[in-house]
């Protein structure tokens, strides 16, 4: 594959702009772009180590900070999953683990992976790094707020980790934190554990709101000249829509956590009905546990798409760049992202078909849920149609993309099982659910993250990651993860319920012992394989091949900065001017197989560009 990287064409961001301001002069009418509406952004440049690297206001550094902290929590989540799999596969070897421990690990694994790892990584990490670069802004619009956002996240993580060391340990109520059990004796960590969990979530939401406002306003109000919404790379669309969802969905989580904390601390009864515990009636009464479930899933379902939409966006860009072909049906892709985002607020109770809510909701939510399947399927078709008649570079990035397609389609199809109300009845609360959501919002987004790391590493550091190690990393991760979760669906068919500390004394479940051992072994392997990446990063930072400018011959703006890696302020003296979408690959008549976004129409006058 190495020949792909030879002769990188160096492109200057300003190459197409002859006269600032645009109108008149020597600029041909064809290339005219409206002058800037607002003057250039005024940035605070840090000078000391603290203002440059710690309390930094540069979105790129903040993005890396988010990335590293999220990865750190992700590794904790990974270790917790090892412990869980040890118990499930080899209970004799896990003699040190009690049921309390197990449930605490389950809970913390879930919460860390969904909120503190994936959400923070996609929006905080990739969002911060890529949005300003991709829309041609100098930085996020409110750099100070952006810095505070990261440090709120930092405190949220500290509080979360602190709960491991308080009496009673972290909460063990499952990542859904359902009351009443979350705050009652009989569940591990029902004292300080759950309180710290709620506090941590509230901090996370507060911090995320600050970051989210930045992402949204940067995309809406700070694009560069010529950058219309319909010229943005899909990565930006995915992150943008996910942020919208986050801004509107996190409030429900905040309210739910706050109310549960009041139930615990003040003895209010928002979610607590009359309860008889160990022969005594507790001083609660009249509340409704199902209300919490509604609030939680009003947050929780959009949360699924907060993780999925950035993944959709990023994968579209990776596939397009590495198959040297425009993304098929760009407008359809954008509308699908927006449509999925909007619909995700009307489907939440499909997590609650057997929760004892009003049974008639089943009809409404099954219908809305299956409607969402249509735009999602369209996205999948467009990805594979982008591969079709492309010129596919089979490098590591592309492997992750292909791995994503397989796992995402698999997980998406099982989603149709669970979304379709009566099919969900036998399967809900079983291992089928675990397999489904790990495939669709665990492994699939992970594939995207890895692909994105291999793709943008040369931008962030100026060096390539090693392809050889990358391939090892990919194949162990993909094959291992697939062999964890694909068979796991069948445990669900047998009827094995989830969140069982130990399960083998039922006659029809004993047949699954072997499978459980196999799954655990695969899980250990996949987890260990992730350290290949860390090794690869360290090694490549030191001895990796120097990438130079625009090593993948991509079109989008982030590769067109005057320096690689980009400096604070991104664009040097002059902001880029955008003339086209980010997907003009292999245009007939063009000299190169790519035409960057900043290339003026007059420069490529003899090509057959269909869309600008």
């Amino acid at each position: 594959m190495t020949e792909d990287f030879k002769d990188n064409k160096v492109i200057h961001a300003q190459s197409s702009e002859t006269i600032p301001g645009g109108a008149g002069g020597s600029v041909p009418d064809l290339d005219y772009v409206r002058p800037a509406e607002v003057s250039d952004q005024d940035l605070y440049h840090g000078h000391s180590f603290i203002t440059k690297w710690v309390f930094c206001q540069d979105a790129k550094v903040i993005g890396i900070q988010y990335f590293c902290l999220a990865t750190f929590t992700g590794i904790i989540g990974l270790i917790l999953s090892w412990l869980m799999r040890l118990q499930l596969g080899f209970p004799e070897a896990a003699g040190f683990m009690t049921a309390e421990h197990y449930y605490q690990f389950v809970t913390m694994h879930g919460m860390i992976m969904v909120v503190y790892f994936l959400t923070a990584l996609f929006l905080g990490g990739f969002g911060n790094y890529l949005i300003p670069l991709m829309v041609g802004a100098r930085d996020m619009v409110f750099p100070y707020l952006n810095m505070v956002s990261f440090w709120s996240f930092f405190v949220a993580v500290l509080v979360l980790l602190a709960s491991f060391f308080v009496p009673g340990g972290p909460t063990g109520s499952g990542w859904t934190l359902y009351p009443p059990q979350a705050i009652l004796e009989g569940t591990p960590g029902s004292g300080m554990g759950i309180i710290l969990m709620c506090v941590s979530l509230i901090l996370f939401v507060a911090g995320f709101t600050m970051g989210g406002l930045n992402y949204l306003i940067t995309v809406l109000q700070a694009r560069t000249r010529g950058m219309t919404l319909m010229r943005m790379p899909l990565t930006v669309w995915g992150i943008f829509t996910a942020t919208v969802l986050a801004m509107l969905a996190f409030p429900a989580l905040l309210v739910g956590s706050l109310m549960m904390m009041l139930d615990k601390l003040l003895g209010t009864s928002f979610f607590m009905p009359t309860i008889l515990k160990a022969g005594e009636v507790l001083e609660y009464g009249g509340g409704s546990p199902i209300l919490f479930q509604h609030l939680f899933w009003f947050f929780g379902h959009p949360e699924v798409y907060i993780v999925a939409l950035p993944a959709f966006g990023i994968i579209s860009d990776l596939i397009s760049v590495h198959s040297r072909k425009n993304i098929f049906g760009y407008r359809m892709m954008v509308w699908a992202i927006v449509g999925i985002g909007a619909l995700s607020f009307f489907v939440w109770a499909h997590h609650m078909y057997v929760s004892g809510m009003n049974p008639w909701f089943g009809f409404f939510f099954a219908t809305t849920t299956l409607i969402i399947a249509v735009p999602t399927a369209m996205k999948v078709y467009n990805w594979i149609l982008t591969l079709w008649r492309g010129n596919i570079r089979m490098n590591t990035v592309m492997l992750w993309c292909l791995g994503f397609i397989v796992t995402f389609v698999n997980g998406g199809i099982t989603g149709i099982f669970l979304g379709n109300v009566s099919v969900d009845v036998p399967l809900s609360d079983t291992y089928f659910v675990i397999a489904h959501f790990h495939m669709v919002m665990g492994i699939a987004p992970l594939m995207v993250i890895m692909g994105a790391v291999y793709h943008w590493f040369p931008l962030v550091t100026g060096k390539f990651l090693s392809e050889k190690l990358g391939k090892w990393h990919f194949w162990t991760t993909f094959l291992g993860a697939y062999s964890i979760y694909f068979p796991m669906h069948y445990l669900g068919f047998i009827g094995v319920p989830r969140r069982y500390f130990e399960m083998y004394d039922s006659p029809y479940m004993t047949s699954a012992v072997g499978m459980n051992e196999f799954i655990s072994l695969a899980a250990f392997l996949v987890g260990a394989a992730q350290f290949i990446l860390i090794f690869n990063i360290i090694k490549s930072l030191k001895t990796g091949k120097v990438a130079g400018k625009n090593p993948w011959q991509a079109n989008s703006l982030e590769w067109l900065t005057p320096t690689v890696p980009p400096e604070h302020g991104n664009w040097g003296d002059r902001l880029p001017v955008v003339h086209r979408w980010a997907y003009d690959y292999s245009v007939p008549g063009a000299k190169e197989d790519f035409i960057t976004q900043t290339t003026a129409p007059s420069e490529v006058a003899d090509t057959k560009v269909e869309k600008t």
């Binding site: 198959s323 098929f328 492309g390 009566s422 079983t430 500390f501």
Partner: protein
């Protein structure tokens, strides 16, 4: 090239695994065969799409791998193709949704002749209550629960007196008689789930939830708690015995009603006071 082969093997392996899997659903023992049928239908349509999409991907990998001299096609959109795909998908989704909704409609509408059973859950166990001769269960209140009134039946309620109380985690059911499970919890969320019956529903404190099924295979089954309910969740098991009509009637005769329990308690109390007097 190698990558394409491995991806192909993964798809092939998935299909073979599905065909030859030793792990599949347990033999159904209730009327919810329709759920199995919808699952099978979803498998055919969904599995078909999965295989088709992935094989197409593998084909692309083989056919369009990088060649220096080739240039990719430039085709931003194809309205016709997109329209066809949208409608085909919509049709497929509708075909999956329709049976799902029909079955759900059966699930939430309980037949008139269903026998109501009060399933009471706590951390971590089950007990059951059947209506007596009047065919109706008495109303309950959690604060009434004590040793003499294990179900918290409201004493003034005339329907409650003849209720049959089964203070055991095993319940017997009559074969081919629909039952309406009324779920009640005194502390946290639980879920009364028998894999062979396919059906399940959470027990939520503060409200009563329900579902129904008709057992149609004589035998003994294990009840699992399917909603996380604290550290004892995994050990919260119970049992169901589905019996023929004769066996069921014999079993039913042996059970105690609420008024019998009260009478027994009174007798004990009387004896105790007598003893105390002596």
């Amino acid at each position: 090239m190698h990558a394409g082969i491995i991806f192909f093997l993964v798809i092939l392996g998935s299909v073979l695994f599905h065909i030859f899997t030793p792990w599949y659903w347990t033999d159904i023992a209730s009327n919810w065969g329709s759920m199995d049928d919808t699952i099978t239908l979803t498998f055919w349509i969904g599995g078909g799409v999965f295989v088709a999409v992935c094989l197409f991907m593998v084909y692309c990998v083989f056919k369009f791998s990088y060649k220096e001299e080739r240039k990719a096609e430039y085709k931003p959109e194809d309205k016709k193709l997109e329209r066809i795909l949208t409608w085909a998908t919509t049709l497929g989704v509708a075909a999956l949704l329709a049976p799902g909704l029909v079955v759900w409609n059966q699930y939430v509408n309980v037949p008139k002749n269903a026998l109501e059973i009060d399933v009471m859950a706590w951390q971590w166990g089950w007990q059951y209550r059947l209506p007596g001769e009047d065919g109706k269960l008495g109303t309950t209140k959690i604060v009434n629960i004590n040793d003499n009134n294990p179900f918290g039946i409201i004493l003034e309620d005339p329907y409650g007196k003849d209720d049959i109380m089964i203070q055991s985690d095993v319940i017997n059911l009559k074969n081919n008689r629909p039952v309406k499970i009324l779920l009640r919890s005194v502390d946290v969320l639980h879920n009364w789930y028998v894999p062979q019956f396919r059906a399940k529903m959470d027990a939520v404190p503060g409200v009563v939830t329900y579902y129904w099924f008709e057992p149609n295979k004589v035998g003994e089954y294990e009840v699992l708690c399917a909603e996380y309910c604290g550290v004892g969740h995994y050990a919260m098991r119970g049992g169901v015995k589905v019996q023929s009509e004769q066996d069921y009637e014999i079993w039913l005769q042996e059970q105690e009603t609420f008024s019998e329990l009260i009478a027994k308690q009174k007798k004990i109390e009387l004896n105790e006071t007598k003893l105390a007097k002596k």
